[in-house]
């Protein structure tokens, strides 16, 4: 494939890709798409794919078998989308290998397996199958980043271009100045999706203002929190979207140096993003003098080695530079002195992925989505015993109750809702009576929770608040980089006190010691990890004080999880 020389060449290429895309869906052959992503591979999607390939050949059905990305419905993996000639595509869920023969035979007879169907990609019900958009998981979602998830092949730049990809980059490159791009991002009030919620436009502006060369633009795809997987799904299902956002970022900063730092454990995400970069180079959307302009851009992909702290901005930059990923004191902020001591703009994967639609539709349009202070859409993941697990994209401002009980379907059979842990390992939980809070940056913070990167963990009555707090504290203890004392020594001390309480030797004064120690850790730690490390514990103590009380005063664990029972029996001589 030759590099595209100018804008006309791209337009011609895009028109061809679009025509191919339309022919694919208009012909009198079958189109069968199988979702291949990390979660569906775990549930046997590759076997389903091979089985389909075999059966279609055996039955002599003229079909195009495609691989697509994940569509966020982890609960229905592996999924298969079938478009028979003259009918709208129907999506079937949980198609494991044993279901494949039944499915193919039914379809060959012209029947629709409505009991397995999630929905049809049509506006009207089709053969007893509801439109996909009315599926309870999707009905309340607003999908911008995930609009093409499960529709396009993530390893095909043609699919992405056929669906309007790289249009935003071209618009920025040919019709806008870098300052105008930054102005649009500022007008959109897009706030950083990694957790802190700092406005991206202001960051970009200060990056532009700093006088030093070269500058760097870095995507933070590290995502090391123990309860979030939205960035890796985004990279697996639409890597070009992130790449396009990064390209626009580089253009806005007028720099040819872009990086994507991806957690090493996200193997498929790394692979697909690297493939996307390779294809973009091949087509001339990366490299020197892109589409005949004076703008050049080179992207390097770097992988992490499994240290949560490397998601922190300054630690991430040290990690890229081949040093141990430990944060440093600020200021200077990284927009002044970051990678290789040069101005560096660092944003989350999801932030960059939101940029193309902002450039294309304008900042004002984006600002009209969501709430006034938290604009746009947010990818959220919910884990725990809920009915429909997965990644959802919602407009900011939906209440937590709607999110858990409508989008994600509420609790599974036999589980009772107890609470939902917010903000990963950096904030406290919400109780049932607090669920009417809107999901956005500021409202959750008021209640001691946090939007964070959008990972929420629902837990039920079988989980003990003290034990859960210990788990979260132990995570922070393990992941502390050991650079500064409050975090390195304080977190183990808190874990020890919690272990004392869990084992039935808690003292009433322990709660005060925890509060005092936590205060020191929060105020004296160097980086964001230490400053929020005790928050989940304080949050648990605030939300479930009666459970801490039961452990300490009554020497019993209401959820029957902690080893307190044996200890209490021994103490009472009751053995």
């Amino acid at each position: 494939m030759a590099r595209l020389a100018d804008r006309q060449a791209f337009e011609r290429y895009a028109a061809e890709a679009q025509a191919r895309w339309e022919r694919l869906w208009a012909g009198d052959h079958w189109v069968i798409s199988v979702g291949i992503s990390e979660c569906s591979i775990a549930k046997g999607a590759l076997e389903t794919y091979r089985h389909l390939e075999l059966l279609l050949a055996q039955e002599g059905i003229p079909a195009t078998l495609r691989r697509v990305g994940c569509a966020g419905w982890c609960f229905a993996e592996p999924f298969v989308e079938v478009r028979a000639p003259g009918a709208p595509p129907v999506v079937y869920g949980n198609v494991t290998t044993d279901r494949v023969p039944d499915l193919v035979h039914a379809l060959k007879r012209g029947e629709v397996k409505s009991e397995w169907a999630l929905g049809a990609r049509a506006d009207e019900p089709f053969a007893g199958v509801q439109p996909l958009s009315q599926h309870p998981f999707l009905a309340r979602q607003r999908r911008l980043l995930f609009a093409d998830a499960g529709v396009i092949d993530p390893e095909s730049i043609d699919d992405y271009i056929a669906r309007g990809g790289y249009r935003a980059f071209l618009k920025a490159l040919f019709e806008m100045t870098p300052d105008e791009v930054v102005a649009e991002v500022k007008a959109s009030n897009l706030r950083g999706r990694g957790g802190a919620g700092f406005p991206a436009g202001i960051k970009w502006e200060s990056g532009r203002r700093t006088q030093a060369w070269p500058k760097y633009v870095v995507v933070n795809s590290h995502e090391g929190e123990p309860n979030v997987f939205k960035d890796r799904r985004l990279l697996e299902t639409n890597p070009h979207l992130v790449l396009e956002g990064l390209l626009i970022g580089c253009y806005a900063l007028e720099t040819p140096y872009g990086y994507n730092y991806i957690g090493g454990e996200h193997a498929l995400a790394v692979e697909r993003f690297q493939e996307a970069v390779r294809q973009a180079y091949e087509l001339g959307l990366l490299g020197d003098n892109i589409l005949g302009t004076s703008f050049s851009c080179h992207i390097r992909v770097r992988t992490g080695g499994g240290a949560y702290i490397c998601g922190e901005g300054s630690a991430l930059m040290y990690a890229i530079m081949g040093q141990r990923g430990q944060p440093r004191t600020k200021p200077p902020r990284s927009v002044e002195e970051g990678l290789w001591k040069r101005p560096t703009v660092l944003n989350n994967t999801e932030t960059f992925a939101s940029v193309p639609s902002i450039v294309l539709n304008g900042g004002a349009w984006y600002a009209s989505l969501g709430t006034e202070q938290s604009t746009g859409t947010k990818l959220v993941t919910i884990q725990g015993p809920v009915k429909r697990l997965g990644v959802a994209e919602i407009e900011m401002g939906m209440t937590m109750r709607e999110l858990i009980f409508e989008v994600f379907g509420g609790m599974r059979e036999g589980y009772r809702f107890k609470g939902v842990q917010t903000g990963g390992v950096s904030a406290g939980p919400l109780r049932e009576d607090q669920l009417d809070v809107p999901v956005d940056f500021d409202s959750l913070t008021e209640l001691g929770g946090m939007l964070g990167s959008g990972g929420f963990v629902v837990f039920d009555e079988s989980v003990c608040a003290v034990d859960f707090a210990r788990y979260l504290m132990a995570f922070n203890r393990y992941e502390s980089c050991s650079k500064c004392n409050p975090c390195r020594l304080g977190n183990p001390a808190l874990v020890e006190i919690l272990d004392r309480i869990r084992n039935g030797f808690g003292r009433p004064a322990d709660l005060d010691i925890i509060r005092e120690g936590a205060k020191h850790i929060i105020e004296l730690s160097l980086c964001g990890l230490g400053q929020v490390a005790p928050m989940p514990l304080l949050g648990m103590m605030k939300a479930f004080p009666e459970e801490f009380d039961a452990h300490i005063r009554e020497k019993r664990c209401p959820a029957n999880v902690c080893p307190i029972r044996e200890a209490a029996l021994v103490a009472a001589g009751d053995d």
Partner: protein, 181 residues
């Protein structure tokens, strides 16, 4: 745990040197530093751990000190500087798996198989990494990734015990999601 001093097998560095020569060609010092972690990941992919010979080869190839390489190898949780057992268990200890009971699995491996995080079982069959993050297959929680490609999902202590037995016999566990189990 196997001691590297007792190790009698020689490490064949040829495949690593080949990968380094083909894919790790830094154009300047900065890029050489950037590539250390990636080179170590390649070594671990090839050998299952990063032997001292490989670390030295990486340092020589990239022109960095061996201290720098070991500084990173010991900082990041993913790297092993001791030889692993025959099978590799990657136990997800993310919040979703915790809520669904992964702590009980860790206890079982410790009590019944003398297997702790980053350790090798006494019979040399199993290596365990407890992953302080999320494997991203939360629908299968609690979950263990086995030998980098297979998943054991919706585990209970009983199912895990059966799965380990099957693994040692060389059988495959049929139902990854535990629905039939």
């Amino acid at each position: 745990m196997a001691n590297r001093i007792d190790r009698d097998e020689k490490i064949d560095l040829t495949p690593l040197l080949e990968v380094l020569a083909n894919r790790f060609r830094p154009r300047d010092d900065q890029e050489a530093y950037e590539l250390i972690v990636g080179a170590c990941q390649e070594a671990q992919r090839l050998y299952g751990w990063v032997p001292p010979e490989a670390a030295q080869a990486i340092a020589d190839h990239l022109g960095v000190t061996i201290n720098r390489v070991y500084g990173l190898l010991t900082f990041y949780a993913d790297f092993r500087t001791e030889p692993p057992g025959k099978h590799f268990l990657w136990l997800c200890h993310g919040a979703a798996c915790y809520v669904m009971g992964s702590s009980r699995l860790i206890e079982l491996l410790r009590d019944r198989h003398q297997l702790v995080d980053h350790g090798v079982s006494p019979d040399g069959e199993l290596t365990l990494h407890v992953f302080n993050g999320c494997l991203g297959v939360c629908d299968l929680a609690p979950v263990i990734q086995v030998d980098h490609h297979e998943y054991w999902g919706r585990l209970t202590p009983e199912r895990l015990e059966a799965a380990i037995e099957a693994l040692k016999r060389g059988d495959r566990l049929e139902d990854a999601d535990g629905t039939a189990g």
